[in-house]
């Protein structure tokens, strides 16, 4: 795929309007073809920050009824509402768009005592998305949400009135799909729990990544290769409890020839990593930005076959496919922009989660 990606995080946790990320991604419209655009915002629902927020797209009312009765079974619905939108001429054939703030019911927690709340949420998301009932959960994290659809990202941003939201971290994607159809659920970002990703590339290892994830109970339903990246992060970070840096080295491991040259301890570490997690290697050209709400993590494939630039300005950290996107929203000085090397991630991190929480309470 062509595609452009962008991300902005305020490392101090200051929240800012979605307008900025819309401007950034719109600048790279030449990389997209209008078949998909979308955004993820973190810190946008401070009033409901302890509840899981589901953004769901429905094909029709019947799908909504069925899904809502299913949700009611497992969750206490604290609030439900249509996702606010405005009329944009170019956005057509819109599905029904709803959001729900949910708490896992106590009796469900008891019933699935071996599972964490996150596991229960993941199970529900997988169930709804795999049921082919015309409902797709497109985001399911806390204090975050994904807004996406078929259209150029600039129009999608307008459609969802993102300028009215403020968050401390934003990801964006403008799509040029080649292998898979352009449909509302297939636009980026992809999200599960607090994870969201945007991806520019094509995953030539998709077949095995998918089968590997299925062994761990993930159901891949979105007809797009990028989905595997999201679930791999969920598996490695949440279930296997590995730090982001290690997960990155699993998805994009060093070459065997590089491992051979390492000192013994690292050599053993990376050898073990590759031997155990070979099926999680992401092969093929990729530039990826992932966020878990605490950091924004950008990286490319092992050969760097897709572009990614980064810049820092004050407490803000930027990632984008092209420099122009960053320049559009931030006055850059010489040296502000840097190009992450092959195998090196570019990371913007909340200085402390506490700060972010504090800022939001204000």
């Amino acid at each position: 795929m062509g595609c452009s990606i962008a991300g902005i995080i305020d490392e101090k946790g200051n929240r800012f309007s979605g307008e900025e990320i819309i401007h950034a991604i719109s600048k790279m419209y030449l990389r997209a073809n209008g078949l998909g655009g979308g955004f993820a915002g973190y810190g946008i629902y401070p009033a409901h920050k302890d509840e899981f927020c589901f953004h769901i797209i429905y094909n029709d009312e019947k799908a909504r009824e069925n899904t809502e009765s299913y949700l009611k079974h497992d969750f206490e619905i604290v609030k439900e509402e249509p996702i606010p939108t405005r009329t944009v001429k170019s956005i057509v054939n819109r599905p029904l768009l709803f959001r729900y703030f949910l708490r896992v019911k106590d009796e469900i927690k008891k019933q699935f005592y071996e599972m964490t709340q996150e596991d229960i949420v993941m199970r529900s998301v997988m169930k709804i998305n795999a049921a082919q009932s015309g409902a797709f959960v497109i985001s399911s994290g806390k204090n975050m949400g994904i807004f996406k659809g078929v259209g150029f990202a600039s129009d999608i941003g307008k459609f969802y009135k993102l300028e009215e939201y403020s968050g401390y971290c934003w990801l964006a994607h403008d799509r040029f799909p080649t292998n898979t159809p352009g449909w509302w659920g297939g636009a980026h970002p992809f999200g599960l729990l607090n994870f969201s990703i945007v991806h520019n590339g094509e995953i030539s290892s998709y077949g095995i990544n998918k089968r590997y994830l299925e062994e761990f109970g993930y159901q891949l339903t979105l007809h797009t290769d990028s989905e595997v990246i999201l679930y791999l992060f969920d598996l490695l970070l949440r279930k296997h409890k590995l730090p982001m840096a290690v997960a990155h080295k699993i998805l994009c491991p060093p070459l065997w020839s590089e491992i051979e040259r390492m000192p013994d301890v690292s050599k053993n570490f990376f050898e073990t990593l590759r031997i155990i997690y070979g099926s999680a290697l992401i092969n093929g050209p990729s530039a990826i930005i992932v966020s878990d709400g605490k950091m924004m993590f950008g990286f490319t494939d092992r050969l760097k076959l897709r572009p990614l630039v980064a810049a820092r300005n004050g407490s803000k950290f930027y990632l984008a496919s092209e420099e122009c996107a960053i320049q559009e929203v931030c006055p850059l000085k010489k040296g502000d922009v840097f190009f992450p090397k092959v195998g090196e991630p570019a990371i913007g991190k909340l200085r402390s989660q506490m700060t972010a929480d504090k800022k939001q309470r204000r």
Partner: protein, 524 residues
């Protein structure tokens, strides 16, 4: 059974015993034509043919050829200094019949004359559909750049053995807590299949061992024990423990890198091994620990394995004996219920499951068994890999596929279906000079490969044979890299089990379903 088998051998060897019958109704398989203008009567052909198809008639001062003795190994034609010999199909016009073919008739005549079961060598030559030839590979175009293996790194390194499901790190300092079970490290996902000392010559074994060493891969001793002089290749050796337990002692287990329990073989599922007494020389007798000249018969089952829990005991006995430092492999033939069998093997504790398909080779097998028992390896790989994944135990063992791998494309397809690596036997023998005459069981291999006759054994120079094997492995590895690069994949782990990069062409719906691949023309 022994008597029957030797009777069958007698027929094929020919010789005096056929005098029992008044006149054999068998007619030859081949015609050897000698160009009198080119023949210089040097008698190379006479000396080269262990089947004595050529002889020098002193009285007539002329070289005679007995077509009925020719096995079609082409040794004489290859070695003839003037190129005077041509071996061709025997041109006797039996009335054409699609049902009662010439082959069927000949086999009937043979059995009528001997009363024996038919013996043969190598993998089946029956005209079964070759599924590999109905599977097509993908390549990257436009949206995903293909990778040029001459310019970019391309990784084939493969580790065989049990892997934990996840890694564990110390929370404080991220230090590695996981200790990997023993692994075999392969520089390319190919191993030399089990061929026993006895079935093949010492020189052949030397060549395999040297080539494995040079290529960073493994060869497999088969069930015939391991000559001491090859102990130095231990780090590239997989030793076999079969139902006959030939040559198994503590040194044998100690020196190897992995131990393979041989339960079955693709060429003869359900029956044991049979090394004819003709091949049991003094050296073989010493290594196998059996008397010289006796048939070495390994029982059909392991008599200490009558069910899965017994297999588990043997696996763990071998793990104990090797201090849990070596992966234990279990080799089985691909039979109808292979997926469940493989799952049982993994749960019994095996680190590697080796599966040998319908086309697996052999030094000696009853023809009917070889040609009719088992299932194609393509289907077996897919069924096993799918089953192990469904059960969430795929990480616990590696899969080696075996049985008729002809070229590097077969290897790529096998890996994409889900194998970790493949065993090659026949392809390796051909690289060393085998011409697939299928007469390994006679002990008269004119190419010096499947023989113990000292006069024949020295025909195979282990240095040259090793070089040819290394060339083969290198060539295939280059080709595998080219195909992977074409798909935009630069590490073999991204090919393994990646069935989306395969398409079936001219396959039945059921075959596609079992292979779990889409038909050609269908996209992602």
């Amino acid at each position: 059974m022994t008597a029957d088998l030797s009777a069958a051998i007698v027929v094929v060897i020919g010789g005096n015993q056929r005098m029992y019958m008044k006149k054999s109704l068998l007619f030859p398989d081949f015609t050897v034509t000698r160009d009198p203008d080119k023949c210089i009567q040097c008698e190379v052909c006479v000396r080269q043919c262990a089947f004595e198809a050529h002889s020098f008639d002193k009285a007539a001062n002329k070289i005679e050829t007995d077509n009925s003795k020719c096995v079609g190994c082409l040794r004489c034609a290859t070695m003839c200094p003037t190129g005077a010999l041509t071996v061709s199909e025997y041109q006797q016009n039996i009335k054409k019949n699609k049902n009662w073919t010439e082959k069927q008739l000949k086999e009937l005549y043979k059995q009528a004359e001997t009363g024996g079961i038919l013996l043969t060598g190598m993998g089946t030559d029956k005209d079964y559909k070759i599924i590999w030839d109905h599977i097509l590979l993908d390549a990257a175009q436009v949206t995903n750049p293909s990778i040029d293996p001459l310019r970019e790194p391309m990784e084939l390194r493969t580790y065989l053995g049990s892997k934990p499901d996840r890694i564990k790190l110390q929370i404080t300092n991220y230090k590695l807590q996981t200790k990997l079970p023993p692994q075999l490290k392969l520089e390319t996902p190919i191993l030399f299949s089990a061929m026993s000392y006895g079935a093949i010559s010492l020189n052949t074994m030397r060549a395999l061992a040297r080539a494995a060493d040079e290529c960073g891969i493994f060869y497999n001793t088969g069930e015939g024990g391991l000559p001491k002089e090859l102990y130095k290749y231990g780090k590239n050796t997989i030793v076999q423990v079969a139902s006959g337990r030939f040559g198994v002692d503590s040194d044998y287990l100690d020196v190897a890198s992995a131990v393979e329990i041989k339960v079955g073989q693709g060429a003869k599922p359900g029956i044991g091994g049979h090394l004819p007494g003709e091949k049991v020389t003094e050296e073989i007798s010493r290594i196998r620990m059996i008397p010289t000249g006796t048939d070495a018969l390994s029982p059909a089952p392991h008599h200490d394995i009558y069910s899965i829990e017994d297999l588990s005991q043997l696996i763990y006995s071998l793990k104990e004996a090797t201090c849990y430092k070596k992966p234990i492999s279990v080799k089985v033939a691909a039979v109808h219920n292979i997926a469940a069998i493989a799952s049982g093997i993994v749960r019994a504790g095996a680190d590697i499951v080796a599966i040998d398909g319908l086309r697996g080779g052999t030094g000696a097998a009853p023809t009917r068994i070889r040609d009719n028992v088992g299932i194609p390896i393509e289907l077996a790989i897919s069924a096993v890999d799918s089953r192990l994944r469904e059960e969430g135990i795929r990480n616990r063992a590696s899969i080696i596929a075996a049985g008729g791998f002809r070229n590097s494309a077969d290897v790529v397809k096998a890996i994409a279906l889900g194998a970790d690596a493949v065993y090659i036997g026949t392809a390796a023998l051909v690289a060393m000079g085998c011409h697939l005459c299928q007469k390994c069981y006679t002990g008269k291999c004119n190419w010096g490969i499947a023989t113990q006759d000292p006069y024949l054994v020295k025909r195979l120079n282990p240095e040259i044979a090793a070089r040819r094997l290394v060339n083969l492995i290198k060539a295939w590895s280059h080709e595998i890299k080219e195909m992977m690069g074409g798909m935009g994949i630069n590490a073999v782990e991204s090919l393994r089990g990646n069935r989306l990069r395969l398409r079936g062409f001219d396959l039945h719906e059921n075959e596609l379903k079992i292979l779990d691949i889409k038909p050609a023309g269908e996209s992602l």
